[in-house]
Assembly symmetry: C2
Homo-oligomer: 559 residues x 2
């Protein structure tokens, strides 16, 4: 077997171009790029505003089958396809999410692609990057401090101490902060109450930043955040606390998209990173829209599998931002399909065409689902060294019987040279004019119906259940004018069902809606269908124990 | 009376030079400057290492009388003197501290000088700047998460849950986080324990970053942090948790000094900002040492009045870093001296030479104190528009009888043109070779004696009192090898005594040492002599309520 270099070795060996040069390729003048070091930059608000009215490029979504421990390589394929499109002469821009810092210290691993399809500088992207997540943390926690401060000084707004819904956030895996009693220690420290922290990517501020069209819209949405309720159940907003202006000030720079480059020196926007369960899991609208003005092709991704990521991309991001995707790529690997067919992780090295065929049911349903949004589909088989010809042929055969095409991609090992075929196919689909994008449900059906439509059409569930309290809450929000909002499903990413162990394509299962939450600033209603962890913990032996600076000043142990 | 522009109006009207141009003046190649926008940059570790062995410039400390609500203008004078020295042909660099973000949302006000003596971009410096404080927050909280995680997974190090001394930090004024019980909610969230947050500038990581000579020394010091104790009172170190490497990785960029410019386009290093009570209150050693290699003159400041700031600058920073200051400037204002003489704030507008003369006792003692370190002194009278000629003459007369000179400075209104006389005087003192710097006490007296020496020689106290428990603790640390460390006095900044209302120059008072803390990573023992607040709160009507982005995208309400 060939010796492969590690991701970090490949990244360090790359020849980076100065970031102003990458910007120049896109027609961004140096004065409109605020550099962060020599290899990262933010694009100015003025430049972005000046693009208004220019024609848009083609928008390509990269999504995937349900994730398995085998790994699918969605970000890697997104980056690879961007390079592939540039290789065949299209001006393409990759748009992906920023990485959360906290999890890097738990389990080894980065979020900037892999192999020969990476965005760089990967160390920075996985650590502080341009400070966006820190700014979000600050803005979120300023609002939290203003809530307790308001209560401390007399509580003029009459906030019910027991009904403060705005928690605090930290970009860290820290289970000790999940549940606490704060304001202990006496009069000077306020009124003791139950409280807790989520990880920063779970902050509604993150979702807002990723859905806002500009700074004005950002400030408006921040003001709409519900921080808690009074005894009479009426909502208290961030605007009531006069927190929205200062929060917007803290987010002024974070709002601007970050420009970096791929290993092949093609432009990539890395901006925003909301959770894909209690939020919508896509990079920022402002980055995607700006990229559409500057590139012929924009390749973006959405969190988790297509049941969560693509559905939210279409029903929340595209609906709200007026985006019209031209084609979708569904990433699968032979290994992950075999796991969907029942093979254990330790047996993945052996050829197993029968299991693979069985597991293809998962892929097949995602293909059918994406088509329900009116978007043409191609399947990318992200090649792994142990894949056999028979296995690859079986996937291709399965997909062709769905009236689509599955293309073997070797971008991980070969970069853009390994993904040319997919790039040509994507261009063919996008330029065919086949796309007739429409969201899955209209704005004007009830919130519960929206949940039912997603559950039946996308998950193939038999029934959605919910307590009276949940249904009453949804109706109350409808009466308050929130009925037009889309729903944001918080479900396990491992299955179409709410049972993470049900791989493949389960049918007729029950989706229990345990809780609903209103993200009034972001503009969606979250339906929680299981245990959703919004503050991860560290494992027994966290990777932080093995991370250090080597004698050359390079970071070791992060990847 | 003349109409004066606000600080922010002056700052916005300034003509900034590209940061690479400012670096070029200092001989820093563009490749060794990592830009953050077009007006901020970090200096590379490689460039700094390459300066080793080059001769040092002159080091000038700017300190002040005890602070009063009238304001003294220490940072303004530091910046003004830097510009003044450049004006008279000396290559001078200003070295000041970074501002904490949290307090900006409490009471209006910035920390980048004022009037015509400011460092810019002041908005950035007062908000996220280059992300240093966020990095310190992350490194601090990673260690905290690793402590609770270690206990959660079995507590192999046998840490006593009740004796964890490492709290968490946030760069926010948030009284609700001062005292809490964390890890509530059941088995999955760990073992409930008393916990709390300090503001980031109070973090020992901040003090460490500001005292470390380079990244290697930083990592070594981080490993030395004591995070808590076992039941047998033996210490548990960050190194035992293997947290030091990952913390150093998080601080890699934060460790590099930040280059900005003054309104007159002269270089300024703004780097680090430890508390001046439980820490030493000076900008980073690495910034000061780098500036000494690049400039003929380095003008730096220390927190609070000279009793705290200058003493710690000399006894902690200079002692540990091997710095030898050449002259000191003590800043006073006529208004603040009148307050020291008993005048109320509302009566400061009226001439009152008698009260002024009485208040000069405070200035006189600081002059005598600084001379105890072998450093020649000049007094800067930071001119205020209401000062009368008789008042200014009275201060000059008082200081001349001490064998020193007091010079009227109009840098706030006039920039460098208003501070030429002080600049010439500073050069005269520094080049006279008068300085015979020595710390106040040697390394090898007991920790309690060190406290007594500072209290008697600097505070003019009659006695230092401490419980047996405090004295025993100090002796125990001496036995463990910490006896050589300097002491870091945590005392009110408003008085030479521990009573904040005792202005002027009190004598024979009692200094009660209530508590002692070991900052083993930073390398000092903190002696706490009163109520020291390490997590501020917000006022009834926080300035955050009035901060917003105006239609031009400028920040309003921050200053």
């Amino acid at each position: 077997m060939t010796e492969y270099k590690s991701d970090i070795e490949i990244a360090r060996a790359a020849t980076k171009r100065p970031i102003f040069e990458i910007g120049e390729k896109l027609g961004i003048p140096a004065a409109d790029l605020a550099p962060y070091g020599h290899d990262k930059a933010k694009i100015s608000a003025e430049f972005i505003a000046a693009q208004d009215g220019k024609p848009d490029g083609k928008l390509i979504l990269v999504t995937a089958i349900n994730p398995t421990p085998a790994g699918e390589g969605k970000t890697t394929t997104t980056v690879g396809l961007g390079d592939g499109l540039n290789r065949i002469g299209k001006k393409a821009i990759v748009c992906i999410r920023e990485a959360s810092l906290g999890p890097c210290f738990g389990v080894k691993g980065g979020a900037a692609g892999g192999g020969c399809a990476q965005v760089i500088p990967m160390e920075d992207i996985n650590l502080h990057f341009t400070g966006d997540f820190h700014a979000i943390t600050s803005a979120h926690n300023l609002l939290a401090a203003m809530i307790d401060n308001h209560i401390y000084w007399g509580n003029e707004l009459d906030i019910d101490l027991r009904r403060v819904t705005w928690r605090r956030v930290m970009d860290m895996n820290d289970r000790a902060l999940r549940e606490m009693v704060s304001s202990l220690g006496g009069v000077a420290n306020g009124f003791p109450r139950q409280n807790g922290f989520d990880i920063t990517v779970a902050s509604e501020v993150m979702a807002i930043l990723c859905l806002a069209s500009d700074l004005k819209d950002l400030e408006r949405r921040l003001g709409n955040i519900i921080v808690g309720y009074r005894r009479d159940r009426t909502a208290v907003y961030a605007r009531d606390l006069k927190a929205d202006g200062a929060m917007a000030v803290l987010l002024k720079d974070a709002m601007q998209p970050n420009l970096v480059q791929t290993l092949e020196n093609n432009p990539a926007f890395v901006h925003g990173g909301p959770f894909a369960n209690i939020a919508h899991g896509c990079n920022s609208v402002i980055a995607t829209k700006t990229a559409l003005k500057l590139g012929e092709y924009v390749v973006t991704e959405a969190g988790f599998g297509a049941d969560l990521g693509a559905e939210k991309f279409f029903d929340i991001k595209c609906r709200k931002a007026g985006l019209r995707p031209d084609a979708a790529v569904i990433v699968a690997t032979v290994r992950a399909l075999k796991m969907n067919g029942g093979v254990k992780k330790e047996d993945l090295g052996a050829e197993n065409v029968a299991a693979l065929k069985k597991g293809c049911s998962n892929l097949g349903r995602h293909v059918a689902n994406v088509r329900k949004f009116g978007v043409p589909v191609v399947v990318a088989i992200n090649h792994f060294v142990t894949d056999t010809d028979a296995e690859v042929a079986a996937v291709k055969d399965y997909v062709s019987r769905l009236g689509a095409e599955a293309i073997l991609c070797r971008h991980w090992a070969e970069g853009s040279a390994g993904i040319e075929e997919l790039a040509y196919k994507v261009v063919e689909l996008a330029e065919s004019g086949q796309a007739r994008f429409q969201p899955l449900y209209p704005d004007d059906v009830s919130l519960f119906e929206k949940i039912e439509i997603v559950a039946s059409k996308i998950y193939h569930a038999g029934e959605v259940t919910a307590d009276k309290a949940v249904r009453d809450q949804l109706r109350a929000w409808e009466e308050q004018g929130y009925g037009e909002l889309p729903v944001c499903m918080a479900k396990t990413q491992y299955s179409f069902s709410t049972d993470p162990s049900l791989r493949g394509a389960p049918e007729g299962h029950v989706v229990p809606v345990r809780e609903v939450r209103l993200s009034a600033g972001a503009g969606f209603v979250v339906a929680i269908t299981g245990e959703i962890m919004t503050m991860p913990g560290l494992p027994r032996s966290p990777s932080a124990e093995r991370i250090y600076l080597n004698d050359q000043g390079y970071i070791e142990g992060l990847f």
